[in-house]
């Protein structure tokens, strides 16, 4: 983080990652195609979470509400009112940003443990609301969007989001944009102030920075990116259900970011990718060894969280940055 030198290795690295992800679609077997598309969208959620947790140092336990705001904000207008894809996507992001602003105005009056619990509680209210408004949302059962609802069509353009390759491309596009936004923020004065707030908030205040306004901005950006992921999810995978507003979806981005490395730009992507495969592989293996033990992924998530926080709190890229590559943003 020494000034803005090292710009070349940083941008080269990120462009390379983006290029690699693009190229991957040509070599991936069918089954993994869908998984990677899903991973890319959820990695955007993780990156949104990372802005608040990694850089600003605010541990929210309620980010599912922002993901769900995007999910339902994009999905419900299409399902009930026949909106088109692009305006719905924008609306979903807007819902997330607005929700983050409101929650931020309330929750940022607290710090530390109280902040964690307050965000947890607000998210829980959000989850209960999706159940209570079951007439509109069908609660846990959820709603699916039809094929035609997920097509972007105009005079010159025909984009079918249900098509496997188009879906991959759209997820890749979102990931690239969010990744680049994260890099820009991390290397910007704003990003430096967020880190300063995380490291020593009082000091930062006494250096003349309006820490409240900065934290609120981080919250809104984080919420908007998380909502973008949610909106993309319903458009690309066609399903919205209350489970996405439930507490697991607040814990998962925390897990992904911790694993990959908090406050690193590529950590969330790495963490999401690894956790997906790790969870699936170990689940399959364990269920093969112990059939009938009802082994679901929750045990793996739990064990991963405890082990990470005990032995590996900086995550993979965080440790790499500390030991070897100090310029990693």
């Amino acid at each position: 983080m020494n000034g803005s030198n090292r710009a070349i290795p940083v941008w080269t690295l990120h462009i390379a990652v983006i290029a690699a992800l693009w190229a991957a679609q040509y070599v991936l077997p069918d089954y993994h195609h869908g998984i990677i598309a899903r991973v890319m969208v959820l990695a955007c959620f993780a990156m949104g979470y990372n802005i608040l947790f990694g850089y600003a140092g605010l541990l929210s336990l309620g980010h599912a509400m922002f993901f769900a705001a995007g999910l339902y904000g994009a999905g419900l207008p299409i399902y009930h009112f026949g909106w088109h894809v692009v305006p719905s996507f924008a609306f979903g992001i807007g819902c997330g940003a607005l929700l983050a602003l409101v929650i931020g105005l309330l929750a940022l009056r607290t710090t530390g443990v109280a902040f964690m619990i307050v965000t947890l509680m607000f998210a829980q209210v959000g989850y209960l609301m999706t159940l209570w408004l079951g007439e509109w949302t069908r609660g846990d059962e959820g709603l699916t969007l039809s094929h035609s609802e997920r097509i972007i069509e105009s005079a010159s353009v025909f984009i079918d989001l249900t098509n496997r390759d188009t879906r991959y491309g759209a997820a890749w596009l979102l990931l690239s944009v969010v990744l680049l936004i994260t890099v820009v923020i991390a290397r910007s004065p704003f990003g430096r102030v967020l880190v300063a707030i995380r490291e020593n908030e009082e000091r930062t205040r006494m250096l003349g920075f309006n820490t409240y306004a900065n934290k609120l901005s981080a919250m809104v950006i984080s919420g908007a990116i998380s909502a973008a992921a949610g909106a993309a999810y319903v458009l690309l995978f066609g399903y919205m259900g209350a489970t996405f507003a439930a507490i697991q979806y607040s814990i998962l981005p925390l897990l992904w970011v911790l694993l990959g490395g908090a406050a690193t730009t590529l950590g969330p992507l790495l963490g999401t990718l690894l956790m997906f495969y790790l969870a699936e592989l170990s689940n399959d293996a364990l269920n093969a060894w112990f059939p009938g033990a009802n082994l679901s992924q929750i045990g793996i998530v739990g064990a991963a969280l405890v082990l990470l926080v005990l032995f590996f709190p900086k995550g993979i890229l965080g440790t790499i940055r500390e030991r070897w590559l100090k310029w990693l943003p």
């Binding site: 006494m206 250096l207 920075f209 820490t211």
Partner: protein
């Protein structure tokens, strides 16, 4: 020629914590360019007083004026914008960041225009050179010796280009040689800025201060030049005693 107005004034400034009056109706007038020392026994309310001035805590009653403006209700970060900088009694830096990055933050804050990265580097190194830490720019701040951490904090304060620099027990933990250098530095700073200095080290106070305010039990006990204070009987009783350092 018009009379010079005080840079900082407080009127009836008070702060209570529960039943305890930590600062009790303090009136203060600090002239621009002055080096003012605030001394007093432990618990006299010195840190509380300067915390009220820089905005870390809110007063229970009273008024604070800076450059003619009432800043009593102004939040701390805005006061920094007006030119008040504060270094903490218990060193408060960014231990996990490099020395360079510690100073880069206040420098960044002061760069109103988009300063090039080279300009930023130059300003940071200049601030570090002034306090004698230029060689340690790459080190992690938390690994510095305690005295050097305090100097780093002073560098951060200086980078804010303050009109009023408040130093809270800055020489605590410094070696004699470092204290010598520090006195020179503060004299230099005092040529362009106003300095408010809380100190227990009487040598430093007597060498640096142009005016001294003595606090006891939250009230102003005495105020005047170093010689006047040295001769003041009340101060001797309450604080200087046999002249031993605490």
């Amino acid at each position: 020629m018009a009379a010079v107005k005080p840079l900082l004034t407080t009127r009836n400034l008070s702060r209570s914590f529960g039943g305890l009056k930590a600062v009790d109706n303090v009136d203060l007038d600090v002239m621009p360019g002055e080096i003012r020392a605030i001394i007093g026994p432990n618990g006299a309310g010195k840190t509380t007083l300067v915390s009220l001035i820089c905005g870390r805590i809110e007063p229970s009653s009273g008024q604070i004026n800076f450059e003619g403006r009432d800043i009593t209700r102004m939040p701390a970060h805005k006061r920094v914008g007006l030119g008040i900088a504060y270094t903490f009694q218990i060193t408060s830096i960014y231990p996990n960041l490099s020395v360079f990055d510690n100073v880069a933050l206040p420098v960044q804050r002061m760069s109103h225009a988009r300063v090039s990265s080279r300009g930023l580097d130059a300003s940071v190194m200049h601030a570090l050179e002034r306090v004698g830490l230029a060689d340690e720019a790459g080190k992690t701040a938390g690994t510095l010796a305690y005295g050097h951490q305090r100097l780093l904090e002073v560098a951060m304060g200086l980078s804010l280009e303050p009109n009023l620099l408040i130093l809270d027990e800055p020489t605590q933990g410094l070696s004699d040689g470092e204290i010598e250098n520090f006195i020179k530095l503060v004299r230099e700073i005092g040529e362009r800025a106003t300095v408010l200095l809380i100190e227990h080290n009487m040598d430093v106070v007597m060498q640096l201060a142009e005016q001294i305010t003595v606090l006891n039990f939250g009230k102003v006990l005495a105020q005047g030049t170093p010689d006047a204070i040295r001769a003041n009987v009340k101060v001797q009783d309450a604080y200087l005693g046999t002249g031993a350092d605490d």
